[in-house]
Amino acid sequence: MMIKLTKLILFLTFILSFIPPLHSDEGDIIWKSTITPTSSILGNGGSGITLLGNQVFISGIIDTNWTTTPPQLNGVIAGYDISTGREVLLRRIQNTLILDISSLETLNRLVISGAIEGGFFPIPMLYFAVVNPANGNIVESYTHNTVSYAGRHIPFSENQIYVSANIVQNSDSGFFLFNNQAQLQQQQISQTSTQEYLYDIKVSTNQYIYAIGKQRADNNDDYDIMVIRWAPQLIQPQPLIINYNNSNDIGGAIYITKKNEIYVAGYVTLSTEPFKVGLLITKLNEDLTYSWDKPFIKELTTDTTGFNYFLANNFLPLCDITQDETTENIYVVYNEVKNEIPYANLIKIDKNKNILLERTYPYCIFTSLVLDGQKNIYVTGTSFETTIEIATWKLEGPSSALQAKGYLTGSVVSEEESTPLVGAIIEVFKGTTLVAQTAAGVDGKYHLEISTGVYIVKASSYGYVSEFSPQVYIEENSTTTVNFSLEKVNFGFLTGTVLSEESQPISNATILALQNQIIISSTTTQQDGSYHMTLDAGSYDIEVSKFGYQTQVATSVVITPLGTTIKNFILKKSPVGYLEGKILDQQAQPLQGAVVEIFYNSVLLSSTTADINGSYFISIPAGTYEVKASSSGFVSKSSTVVIIENSTITLNFVLQRIPKGIVRGYVLNTNGEPINMATLSFYLNNELITTTNSNNFGFYEVTVPTGSYKVEIYAVNYQSKTEEGIIVYESSVTYKNFILTRIPKGYITGTITTRPGNRPVVGAVIKVLLDSQVVISTTARVDGSYFLEVASGVYNIEVSSGGYMTVYSTGIIVNDNETVTLNFVLERIRTGVIEGIVLNNETAQPLKDATVTLKIYNVTVASTTTDENGSYKFICQIGTYIVEASLAGFKTQQKTAQVLENSTTTLNFLLSAAYYIEGKVVTSFNQPLEDTTVILVCLTDGTTLQTKTNTEGIYRFSELIKADYKVYPQKEGWIFEPQQYIYTQLSSNKTAQNFTAYQQQLPPEQKITLPIGEVSAPKKDEIKVVTSNSSGKITSEDKIYILFNSVPSKEYTLKIITLLGDKVYETKKTATDAYEFFEYSLRLKDLSSGTYLLIIESENSKLTKKISLVR
């Protein structure tokens, strides 16, 4: 059975691979919550649904992966708040298929049924368990000891839960009765071996047990619907076989009313030629006689993919049935496939089989439903929106059908002439479903009466580009105006075929549309040699090329607006030569299947494989090529050959076997627990060699070529890790464990409401931004609430909704396991205009194509470029913006603008031409000198900039305006040649402004002998003052020694001045050493008490130091 399930799910996956991205019609969906599998390579879905208090719980199958050994097929239980859909419980149960869930209200417990891994999966064993809804913990459980599984179950009382049971090994079925401690009380299994399966089970008020499923029909491979009844005394069960049309039928769901009326639903084959499938609903009496003379049949769309076969053969009953006890109306959910797209359906019929309501939801499969007291319907199943997800929907009760109406009006005009576009088509969409359409009148105006809700409006007219509106809100008895201004179409079409001289279509030929040798557009031909291009109106040269053929060009091909130009080509073959040879291993054994590839300028032109003798043969146009031979497990080899027209070149390859080893180990978390499904990618010389996943025990193993590997490990909810230097030896095992750290996560929640009105903004988009990049986003639910899970960090939040002003909240700190509540109030959009011109500061000429960017808090909200007049314009929400103008070759400028409602703010920019200075700092050995500080001094205004050289020793100062500059490098312990570059009125870019660095020969700390003793030498560019006073003061009784660095034979002057600038002493000295000093007697010079400045001057240097003197 499980093998069959595997095949079916594989089949489903195959079908789903054709499904385009989802745009769900949410219609009267109130909320929807999804669970995204951590990994799921095959189909999965929700199975059962139940209500408990103010919460709805679902069961499901998740994280499927049939490629591992043993396979992964896990169950999940999830709970949601009924009013908000917010997740309150999410618990994975490993290696368990959960096929149904029910609630025991008084005990506040859930029960689940299905199958659990037994021995070597996928051999299943029937599984039943009692679950704590608060945390999803299994309280009690039961596992059957044969290959078996449970279908749906039903609690008759809180201590009597009947479970439909299928004993796979005997092809028998029946039911098990459990108490609320998961102890088996009774079992009733048929011994007929008629290959029967039970999917759903219900119990009547007088405790008759009814189950539905299918039973194999005699003498053929078809199944019939089987409804079976057991009396309370457990006498021989009474079956009812429904064979609708002598073909394949399946019973899916059963419901028993309080009056013990029995409704069943299933799928039946309506005809085999052509193949048609239908939904069957019928009503039975207690004794299994028909209550309705004819069943209700709803023909389903026949799908060529055979998806309906899947409906009839799935492990899960892909339909469900229930009744509103007050109105006695029946609700059924069922599924079908139209044009390879799955649709879930909801139908409501009365007891006379009249259809009261139908709803269709694309890209969904509904599996199970439940009704609450407010006639809301809760459904679980699978959603295919972005990936394959388990989904839970809350649907608005059909009793409150959308009756309130409002009005949509507006006009459609041409953007260029502002003339009305008569007959323009107006289409109104709810989600992706067209709900209304009309045409514009002679005045270009339209008017529609439409149900209240949120819509998208599309306007289209021949010769114009269609336009979509933002979200439009239709409110009861109010008129919403949406005007369109359509842009004229200025494009046409080029089409044609490319054939060989033998009139054979040439596929994959490259078609280039060129103007002035510049490629404007390109495409390739289809299998039939046809091609199609959409081009702006104008004249083009069309170039057609294909390897093996001579390139052809058609000049001056004219494209007219909306016109179709046909241009066909017949290509001549290029002259060819031949290449042949053998691919052998080192033992001269042929390598069958070895691949020979022909490259020209690194582009793969052709390939072939070696035959059983290792021989290959290929014909290619004359020329010089790179030939590469490769075979799995062998080192590839390449060689260059010259192919001559009509000649045969022989080229043999001998390939060497790649030595291999094994890497194995465990992926664990920091607590030492195994991490399942961690992805390990093995790189050798930065080339991905293989990827594998860890299993349940965190274990992995790969066999890879020998070498030193870099391994990247990724696991959901953990921080990725990279480890290098993992060495694999030939025929050896390398053991390597990886420890991953869990990513700390927090939560952001809140509500989005309007002001005025304080109404929830359904569908408002909440984006979490990190450095202007969207980390995650969600939309507000029907009550305006939202919930997000993010990694701990500091974020900015952006909230937007059509028609409302976007609001931001910045610097939001999200800590691990903490919830941040952020409520937002949106106001209707009020706009103003920012416009202006961007001019060249030097010439006052307008600057075209300058980029003008609108920012809030450094987040770019809009961007445009200037036209030929240098003009730009933004229509934007009111508020304060930073407007930035930039253009290559000019210095970027920022200004702040305040935008007021319905007013225009003019902001002009004068951009000055900007230049850059760049160069390299290298050592005398021509090695780049990294991390050198390079200083730029603007000699015009005294400002300085500094940067550091990168690993290549390169520095760069950009966006410099015309001025005088000086550039020089600095690095401790280095001196530079030249010392600096000076630029007068910089008016061009300066490159190669290079410096050569020489290591400064720092002398060892030197001692200088003074008359009072030895002291250390002064530092570079420093005056060192030593006083003869042993207490460190300078008094009139003392001498001071003024030490400085000197160059021998150079003359130095010592000056002493007051802080008023009056010179009080001056003397000179010619240096005889690298360090020199002046001796100065304060007494002799009769200075008064006070502060003085010492100055030591030479021809090119000047040093100063303050001293104070007390008398």
Binding site: N1029, S1030, G1032, T1104, K1106, I1107, S1108, L1109, R1111
Partner: protein
Amino acid sequence: MNKKINIVLASFVISIELFSATLPGWWFFQKNYTTTSEVFISENFLRIDTLQTISNHPACFSFYQGKAGMFMFTEVSTLNLIYSGIFYATKLKSIGISGGLIYNDTGKETIHYLQSGVEKSETINLQRDIFMISSLSKLIKDNISFSLTFKIANSMLQNENALAFAFDFNLFFYSIIKNSNLAVSFKNIGMSTSFKEESDSLPLSLSVTYSCKILRFFELGLNLPYVFNYRFSPSLGVAFTKDPVKVYLSYTFNKEDNNFGFGVSSNIQNFEIGYSIVPSKYLGVSHKVGLGYKF
């Protein structure tokens, strides 16, 4: 009256100069207390820089039309020198009274020394001064006023303290010739205590300042200060005034550094603001900002 004053002044000069063998100390007594140069005392300046001019020449307070005013200034230099103060001036009947508090700090430096043959170093506070100033001024003729200023200061050098007090006399001749004013000052008549062993003489000085208006917006100023036993360093300045803004440039002769001065000031309603910059070869560029308010 004038005769008596002259005798008193002369006796002070003799008594101090006779005992003065070293260069005079307490040099910060020579600094002016405003953002403007003291060479300018013309009517233009009295109109725009009233409070600043009073700080430099207290005698001219008698020609001040307002009742009271307050002025504060701060000077910083790239050599880590700080000099700032605050003044208040008011009139009591015919007598003008002004007072202020000034702070001067020359920063820190590291000095090395040998103790038992081992080199050591110490970073010390070079100099910190605080001094109070108070003046009385009175009109002695329609166009002549007189002021007497008393100053007392405490100076701390390398953690050694000394005290000094001094008197200044100032005569101000308003419109001595048409559009020109003259001031004569005799400053720093006083004495000090010693820091350690020997006290320093104060920078006793006599200065004559003359300023006149030329053309409509221009003014020339000349200051001839002589510091006894020390130096004679005249200053010359030219200023341009266009209400309510004034710009000036001055040059001082016979100095090694700080020769040039450039400033701008303005009078907006009751506020008086000023800025000056003194470029320097050695002492670091100094910036001075001032703010006054007339009550």
